[in-house]
């Protein structure tokens, strides 16, 4: 999905994603994000996400550790919202 936030994957979107990922971790759902499948980072870590240096307009991969398709759908919506946060 695209990073819409105007400064890229920066302070605000990163903080929102980390918060979301931490909440999901409590349910046993992992969230990883990155440019390629080989280079995904744990979305609980703001620092690791910042070091990806993803700019506005770039496409990112989001991997969810769940088999529940409906749940995944709703999480993807939340992730997309975070990626649009300025």
């Amino acid at each position: 999905m695209p990073v819409v936030a105007k400064v890229g994957l920066h302070a605000r979107p990163v903080a929102l994603l980390a918060k979301l990922a931490t909440e999901l971790a409590a349910e046993g759902i992992t969230v990883r994000i990155g440019r390629t499948v080989e280079a995904l980072v744990d979305a609980k870590s703001s620092l690791r996400m910042l070091t990806l240096k993803i700019a506005s307009g770039e496409e990112v991969l989001v991997e969810l550790g769940t088999t529940d398709a409906a749940r995944a759908e709703s999480i993807f919506t939340q992730v997309a919202e975070a990626l649009a946060a300025d």
Partner: protein, 536 residues
């Protein structure tokens, strides 16, 4: 009387007692632990929790914008990845101090040198040092006195520090920083004078000593009594009409309303970016027409100049499809966007033409980042094709300065954007505080360039305006008028002061002030000579 000079922020002056914040804690020498790695880890976890709590506490007392920054920092320091990385070093036998600095460095090394993310590096390193300070029992948390008047003197100030400013803080002096640093922005918001990039400030300014900070002159006088404040700055008595037109800069309908309360004659720069930011698709023709008509309805009488979208660089927009650039400020920005997406400019011009028809008030339009005559002429043709009569271009690149004479008959006016012109003239990044001194608007080379622009434009029969915030410095506005600039434009709060100056002097006198400034060998001298040449 010791005098310090730097870059003044604002045009006011103040007197207070210095409150010197010592240098920030330095990273400790790397050391192996003498206790178990488990014990070291416990120390680290506790210190991190303390820093996080301190930041969250400070956030709860700060204004909204600062609170957001502080909460983000509080969350960052608690990032589990920091402990994870540090644990690797702890297990190798290093102390908690060494491990946390090494761990943070592993993140900052990846961010350094990047245009957009590089600015985070200082914040993150600062966080690691705060943890170190807790570990070593240094009381690093600064508490700025609540009773003043106080002049804060520091290397530079972090959001956690400026968040503590009360009305007791009447001025700020920083050794580092630049005109666009966090400190400068906060001081402008609070309307207090600041002096930034003051060499040797920490070494030479003693604590608890009286000092006058004169942001107008860009100087501070040590050991001064409060009475020395008289004579700081200069007040002017108006004797006639302004020698150059004074317009205002706006970005919204609300700005235009505020500007209408001042004496500004029209708008020298309407920034159209605001509507384009923070969204995933470009604004529609209707949305744009509504905004432009709103501005035309509210703006003070006089010419209203709209600048077409100045995005790219520091203001990337996802829907433009420019992608990631190594050097965004040298990339596809401003008018150059038209080469990758012609629809944006076309819609803007259409909206401006509709707003013109709706309000019955004429618009002027100009394009940013023009570097060739061909670009200027293509833009002028497009704008005139939409029924806009008065068309101009921004002068921000050295290349267009060289061929201004060829713009005769093509454009009606040019407008100098001093910030970007400085950036490209001096090859100095506006975002990089390390080169801030080069971007001082009093740089003699910038003044010479403005003189050249005026001469060339005059020969070509083209009007010259300045819409960079540099014109908000009233003395600099006089210099510009003396160099041949016919209109200056700045944010609403500075209009009255600039009017005071431009109404108190003749064109011939302004020319003398300008020529005096041009003799300066450096920014401080240029300003000093201009001030000396200014008639009382």
């Amino acid at each position: 009387m010791s005098t310090f000079s730097g870059i003044g922020v604002g045009d006011s002056s103040a007197w207070g007692k210095t409150f010197v914040l010592g240098p920030k804690p330095k990273a400790p020498l790397e050391a192996k632990s003498t206790i178990s790695s488990e014990a070291e880890q416990k120390r680290l976890v506790k210190a991190i929790a303390e820093v996080s709590e301190y930041l969250a506490d400070t956030a709860s007392q700060a204004d909204e914008m600062t609170a957001e920054i502080l909460s983000a920092l509080s969350a960052l320091v608690q990032d589990p990845a920091l402990i994870e990385e540090a644990t690797v070093h702890l297990n190798d036998g290093w102390t908690a101090e060494t491990s946390v600095v090494r761990a943070m460095n592993s993140f900052t090394e990846l961010l350094a040198g990047d245009d957009l993310f590089g600015e985070r590096v200082a914040d993150l390193q600062d966080l690691a040092l705060q943890v170190v300070a807790r570990l070593t029992g240094q009381d690093w948390s600064v508490s700025i006195p609540k009773v003043g008047p106080i002049v804060v003197v520091a290397e530079d100030l972090s959001p956690a520090e400026t968040a503590q400013f009360t009305d007791a803080v009447v001025a700020v002096i920083t050794q580092g920083g630049g005109p666009t640093s966090h400190t400068a922005i906060i001081c402008r918001q609070r309307s207090i004078p600041a002096l930034v990039a003051v060499a040797g400030a920490l070494e030479n300014i003693p604590n608890h000593t009286g000092i006058v900070v004169d942001a107008f002159k860009g100087e501070a006088y040590l050991s001064a009594e409060v009475t020395d404040l008289v004579g700081a700055g200069k007040s002017r008595t108006r004797t006639g009409k302004p020698i150059a037109e004074v317009k205002g800069n706006v970005g919204s309908v609300a700005d235009a309303k505020v500007l209408a309360e001042t004496e500004a004659s029209g708008v020298g720069l309407m920034r159209t970016e605001l509507l384009f930011l923070s969204r995933s698709t470009a604004p529609t023709l209707e949305e744009q027409t509504e905004l432009y008509a709103g501005v035309l309805n509210e703006a003070p009488s006089g010419e209203v100049i709209f600048r077409t979208l100045d995005a790219g660089s520091d203001k990337p927009l996802p829907y433009l499809g420019i992608g990631r650039e190594e050097n965004p400020s040298l990339g596809v920005r401003g008018y150059r966007i038209n080469s990758v997406d012609a629809g944006i400019l076309d819609t803007q011009l259409k909206a401006l033409a509709q707003a013109q028809a709706q309000t019955g008030r004429e618009v002027s339009v100009m394009a940013p980042m023009i570097s060739t005559v061909a670009e200027a002429s293509d833009f002028a043709e497009l704008a005139r094709g939409h029924g806009i009569k008065t068309v101009g271009v921004m002068v921000e690149t050295p290349s267009i300065c060289m061929v201004l004479d060829q713009l005769a008959g093509i454009v009606d006016f040019v407008s100098i954007g001093t910030n970007d012109l400085s950036q490209y003239l001096f090859a100095a990044d506006r975002q990089n505080s390390g080169v801030a001194a080069l971007l001082n608007p009093w740089q003699p080379a910038l003044l010479k360039t403005i003189e050249l622009i005026c001469q060339q434009a005059n020969l070509a029969g083209i009007k010259v305006g300045v819409c960079g915030e540099a014109a908000a410095d009233p003395l600099l506005a006089v210099v510009m008028a003396g160099l041949g600039v016919q209109s200056v434009s700045m944010a609403a709060p500075a209009v009255t002061k600039v009017m005071d100056y431009l109404c108190s002097i003749s064109t011939q006198q302004a020319e003398q002030v300008a020529q005096a400034a041009l003799r300066g060998m450096n920014p401080a001298q240029a300003k000093e000579l201009a001030l000396a040449a200014l008639p009382n």
